[in-house]
């Protein structure tokens, strides 16, 4: 379980004191799929960077499975538990051959050669890029590169996987593929997923959605409570789902359906119930 209590983070730029996080409290149980939404500069990335110890809190605490990220020697234990994937795949691939890059994490952990090879193979098959193991990264597409980055994090066998806008540089097809793989990891391999995103549709199948605004958690809840609430979303400049907007317009023009419709299937069901 990830437990964050009263987390503050501030930094200085040119003598200006900037507060990026202003008192965050949250608990993420193991096995959940959690999505962080929010406008630019709301503190999403800053928040998740605290969870694997890339940033140290100015005040407050971050505890992962009972390990406090503040203690110096515990940071490596936490980083092993919490994998991290960033936005730009090009800037997180270290080695010039795919399998060697995926081996980078396990090599840092000091595992034996045979164990590393096994993990590399497993990560490659989990992300479905086994056939690219000998490729040079620059010959792959953006989506494939991001899968390499995910495989690189998975090779550490993390219990928690943070993905910081992993799909924002990708085409829709690669985006869907990556989301499918993340959901698969969550369901079949019990990896807890923390997904930071700009895309509302990526949050539909999450267990919980956190909406951040100006360094605070503005609200949180199941997707239906958060994404289904159009007035709430517009308050934080988050684009509502197409079906939710449609439902709101329909209600406005006098058709009596639920306003918290999220998917096309739900919309079809609602409309059929009208007769």
């Amino acid at each position: 379980m990830i437990k964050i209590s009263d987390l503050y983070y501030a930094y200085k730029v040119k003598n200006k004191h900037i507060e990026a996080l202003k008192g965050i409290d949250l608990e993420i149980p193991k096995g959940e799929f959690v999505v962080f939404l929010g406008p630019n500069g709301s503190g999403k990335s800053t928040l998740v960077k605290h969870i694997n110890g890339l940033l140290t809190p100015s005040a407050g605490e971050v505890v992962v499975d009972g390990i406090n990220a503040k203690e110096d020697d515990s940071i490596w234990k936490i980083r092993q538990k919490v994998g991290m994937v960033f936005q730009n795949p090009d800037n997180q691939i270290v080695a010039n051959v795919v399998e060697n890059d995926i081996a980078f994490g396990p090599e840092n952990l000091g595992l034996s050669s045979s164990e590393i090879k096994e993990r590399v193979k497993k990560s490659l098959s989990l992300t479905k890029i086994l056939e690219y193991s000998k490729y040079e990264p620059h010959l792959l597409s953006g989506g494939q590169k991001q899968l390499v980055a995910i495989a690189g994090a998975l090779a550490m066998e993390p219990e928690y996987l943070i993905l910081d806008e992993p799909t924002s540089m990708l085409d829709p097809l690669s985006r869907r593929k990556i989301l499918k793989i993340i959901h698969d990891l969550n369901k079949n391999h019990k990896t807890t997923i923390l997904l930071v995103t700009h895309f509302t549709d990526e949050a539909v199948n999450a267990d919980r959605v956190y909406i951040l605004d100006a360094g605070r958690i503005a609200c949180y809840g199941e997707p239906r409570e958060t994404l289904g609430n159009i007035s709430l979303l517009s308050k934080f400049q988050i684009k509502p789902l197409a079906m939710t907007s449609l439902a709101a317009s329909l209600v406005k023009s006098g058709i009596d359906i639920s306003t918290s419709v999220l998917t096309v299937d739900e919309m079809v069901e609602e409309l059929c119930l009208l007769n």
Binding site: N52, D90, N91, I93, V94, A103, F104, E107
Partner: protein
């Protein structure tokens, strides 16, 4: 920017005996070859090295044309040294063009120097032709380990090499992109005098530099979150092991080069 046809330093995958040799052995063999080349002083010495290089090319199953294509960027230097040595060596005159004199010594000298250069380039380029960059960095890391007594980290050196190799194509693509973007804004990289062109290149270099720093910053974060903390306690996926083939190749090389060096020692 066109980097095609730049043969030196490229790797040509294959499954030959030479490809499968331990990279460390290949580095040492290349080094010994270079040293021997600078020791020999007569015709038979060069014949010996030529046969040795030819023997490696044959067993690496690379086409001779491909190996020779590595010489193309060096054409100017080869022709230049040849001419310089041909005309500016004193000795017995052979042909006389008025003020230019070709001497017998000059002719032999320029032939030897060019043979030396050609054999050096083809011989050592065989190392990169037959060794994957990953293996080469692993090999160098292992060979440079003894430098650790001088507090130089061979691991850091190898990592720098890996990251450099990884980012060369990324930065070439980025350079092209920025160039196009600046051209679209009216920058001209071809016209004008040297000062003007240099100034125009500034509009390419500054964004590139900014991007490199940003990338370096992000890469460092990504490496840290994958538990990177320097070479300490780090293991390798591919452990290098010297096999009996490496032993044979090494012994064979030492023997051949030793004989060549003795035969080629006398002027």
């Amino acid at each position: 920017m066109d980097f095609e046809g730049f043969g030196i330093g490229q790797f040509y995958p294959g499954d030959s005996v030479i490809h499968r040799l331990d990279p460390r052995i290949k580095v040492i063999i290349s080094f010994l070859l270079a040293v021997t080349l600078f020791m020999i002083k007569n015709f038979w010495g060069f014949v010996g090295i030529f046969l040795f290089v030819f023997f490696i090319i044959f067993f690496s199953r690379l086409s001779a044309r491909l190996v020779l294509s590595g010489l193309r960027p060096m054409t100017f230097i080869l022709v230049f040294t040849f001419i310089i040595h041909l005309f500016f060596t004193s000795g017995t005159p052979l042909i006389n063009f008025g003020f230019l004199v070709i001497t017998k010594e000059g002719f032999v000298n320029s032939l030897f120097i060019n043979s030396r250069l050609i054999l050096l380039i083809t011989g050592t380029s065989l190392l990169t032709f037959t060794t994957a960059p990953v293996d080469l960095t692993d090999g160098l890391e292992s060979l440079l380990k003894p430098l650790e007594i001088f507090r130089l980290s061979s691991h850091q050196f190898a990592l720098m090499m890996t990251v450099a190799l990884r980012f060369i194509p990324v930065l070439i693509i980025e350079t092209n992109k920025i160039m196009k973007a600046q051209k679209a804004r009216g920058a001209d990289f071809k016209k004008g005098n040297l000062a003007k062109r240099a100034k125009n290149y500034l509009s390419l270099l500054i964004p590139l530099l900014v991007s490199v720093f940003r990338r370096a910053d992000e890469l460092a974060l990504a490496m840290e979150s994958r538990c990177y903390r320097g070479g300490e306690g780090r293991t390798r996926m591919n452990e290098l092991k010297i096999g009996y083939k490496d032993f044979y190749a090494f012994s064979f090389t030492v023997l051949v080069l030793f004989v060549v060096a003795i035969v080629g020692w006398k002027t």
